[in-house]
């Protein structure tokens, strides 16, 4: 499905066609904290949502981002889709810096990168029928003729296994189940024929019984369309199931990044080890693991000193208190940000 992109590319960046589809370079997003009239905050204090994250997603591959709530996963997704712009660093999409896009170039980017939002019950305007919801992307981008759009909508519904498609055209969101709505959300994202699809917790709001169906569908469609995908989840089993590469985030930073099997089978970063230990094993005979780390996550407000994980790390060393750990290679394509593997 390699179509000539409508995106206007500078000639120098045409070479990037063979590079990664999405690349983040030391991306930072700091949210300024509003100073209340009586709040005792220092001026210019900020929350570090995403703090110096670099990674690349090769074309056709899938990246899983995992981490606990508040670690910046969703902020990162919003950055990649240019819903917000980074405070520092660059995000390259097909070699083009996203923050430079505007007008027609931005609209062209919107056709190429799509999002599946987390909550299927909120993903579709409650006033829209499925036909309106699915035709809207076509209207915005001026795709197809008025008659042609209905056919496309029906095809899109059939593609996500909502059959008979005609029966769904006049339905409103509240008449559908969560699993069906999430399929519609997927179908709508695919209406514009994107090449990059980000899914923010695609199944966390769904019943366990329909999760596998939605995930298998996403996997099959991504393979059939050669989509580059990014899954955000706090559920490591989902990441293991669908993603080739896994990135573990902690407090806005990358803790560990590598091939999914390597990261989950032999986790190097103490935080990844903790996450895996905390994931329950479906075996009632097995005792629950003893987790010794304190549950409190340090605040992302203000400047951080040293390793963000220092307060919870069972293997903390003096160096962790002062120096933020860089990402170092711990295996083939496998990186971890921990002083245990550094020169110290």
């Amino acid at each position: 499905m390699a179509r000539p992109g409508p995106m206007t590319r500078a000639p120098a960046e045409a070479a990037a066609a063979n590079g990664p589809l999405v690349a983040a370079e030391a991306v930072q997003k700091y949210f300024p904290l509003r100073r209340g009239l009586f709040a005792r905050r220092a001026p210019g204090e900020y929350l570090r949502g995403v703090d110096g994250v670099s990674f690349a997603i090769p074309r056709g591959s899938s990246l899983g981002i995992a981490g606990e709530s508040g670690c910046g996963k969703t902020t990162l997704a919003r950055l990649l889709l240019r819903l917000i712009t980074p405070t520092a660093g660059r995000i390259l999409f097909e070699g083009v810096d996203l923050s430079t896009l505007d007008g027609p170039a931005l609209l062209a980017f919107r056709r190429r990168a799509q999002l599946m939002v987390q909550n299927p019950y909120e993903a579709i305007n409650p006033r829209f029928t499925m036909e309106q919801a699915l035709a809207e992307p076509l209207v915005i981008h001026g795709i197809g003729t008025r008659e042609d759009r209905l056919d496309r909508v029906i095809a899109a519904l059939a593609q996500v296994n909502l059959r008979p498609a005609d029966a769904f055209l006049d339905k409103y969101p509240h008449q559908l189940s969560g699993g069906q709505l999430q399929r519609v959300g997927l179908a709508r994202a695919l209406m514009v024929d994107p090449i990059f699809l980000a899914a923010d917790e695609p199944v966390s709001m769904l019943d366990v019984s329909v999760r596998a169906g939605v995930l298998n569908l996403m996997k099959a469609i991504a393979r059939a369309r050669h989509l580059t995908t990014m899954y955000i989840s706090h559920d490591l089993s989902l990441v293991r199931y669908v993603c080739e590469t896994t990135m573990i985030m902690y407090l806005g930073t990358v803790a560990e990044l590598g091939p999914t099997e390597a990261v989950l089978a032999s986790p190097k970063h103490p935080y990844t080890q903790l996450l895996l230990a905390a994931a329950p094993v479906p075996d009632p005979g097995r005792p629950l693991p003893e987790i010794t780390a304190p549950e409190q996550v340090p605040t992302p407000i203000g400047p951080g000193i040293g390793c963000p994980f220092q307060d919870r790390c069972p293997q903390v060393m003096p160096v962790c208190r002062t120096v933020p750990p860089p990402l170092v290679f711990v295996g083939p394509k496998h990186e971890a940000a921990c002083h245990l593997y550094g020169p110290h």
């Binding site: 889709l81 819903l83 931005l106 609209l107 919107r110 056709r111 990168a113 799509q114 999002l115 939002v117 987390q118 909550n119 909120e122 993903a123 579709i124 305007n125 409650p126 006033r127 809207e136 992307p137 915005i140 981008h141 409103y172 509240h174 959300g185 709508r188 994202a189 514009v192």
Partner: protein
Amino acid sequence: MRSGSVDALPRPGQTWAGWRRAAGTLWGVLQHDRFAFAGICIYALFVLIALSGDIFAQLVYGARPALTVGFVAAFFVALIGTSVGIIAGYYGGWLDAVLMRLADVAFGIPYLPFVIVLVAFLGPSLWNIVLTMALLLWKDTARVVRAQVLTLRERGFVEAARVLGSSPRRLMLVHLAPNVLPIALLYGSLAVGWAILTEASVSFLGFGDPARISWGYMLQDAYISQALSGGAYNWFIPPGVCIMLVVMAGYFISRGYEELLFPRLRRR
């Protein structure tokens, strides 16, 4: 017209014995001849209409300015309030701050003195009263709509629409406006009643259009003629009931429209 209608009204205290006599005769007629009784009833109805003829005429003519002021003012109140609310809620930042401080100013200006000043400059007319309402009464709608937009803005479908490339105009008109419409219609229908009553009090103070009779004018007329203590119920109840019915009609229309627009409410 004013004194005439008061004198023509049957006053319960004055003719109590006569009423009792008449009731006794009627009871006798009803037992002997039902057709005669029906005839008497029809005759009594005609007498009642004839007696309160000028009230009936006032009621009919009063519908015109009341409905005009009510619906035109309510339309502008809802339109301005909804637009300001959506724009302030969607854009946020300095635009939100400016618009909401403007609403605060509108909250701070007392309505009647404002009308007095404006009418002093522009002259008393129905349309100037509508103008003052449009200028001052949008504030409640704007506040409530803004609050609604603030919660809608964070919902997934707005984010999804932005990812799909919706322009801000499209987001506000296609995604936000239909979702705040029920509340805008509710405030619009409340504004109908508020506008009719406001027109009445403005007329009462002598800043209304003296050439027009409205329901509000009738109420004030009855009030200063002491119709309530005089027991002239047929003078002030009809305009009061009419105002109530119009306000209710406005409310039911907005409910019906909401049902049409928001299908989840539709009964199957």
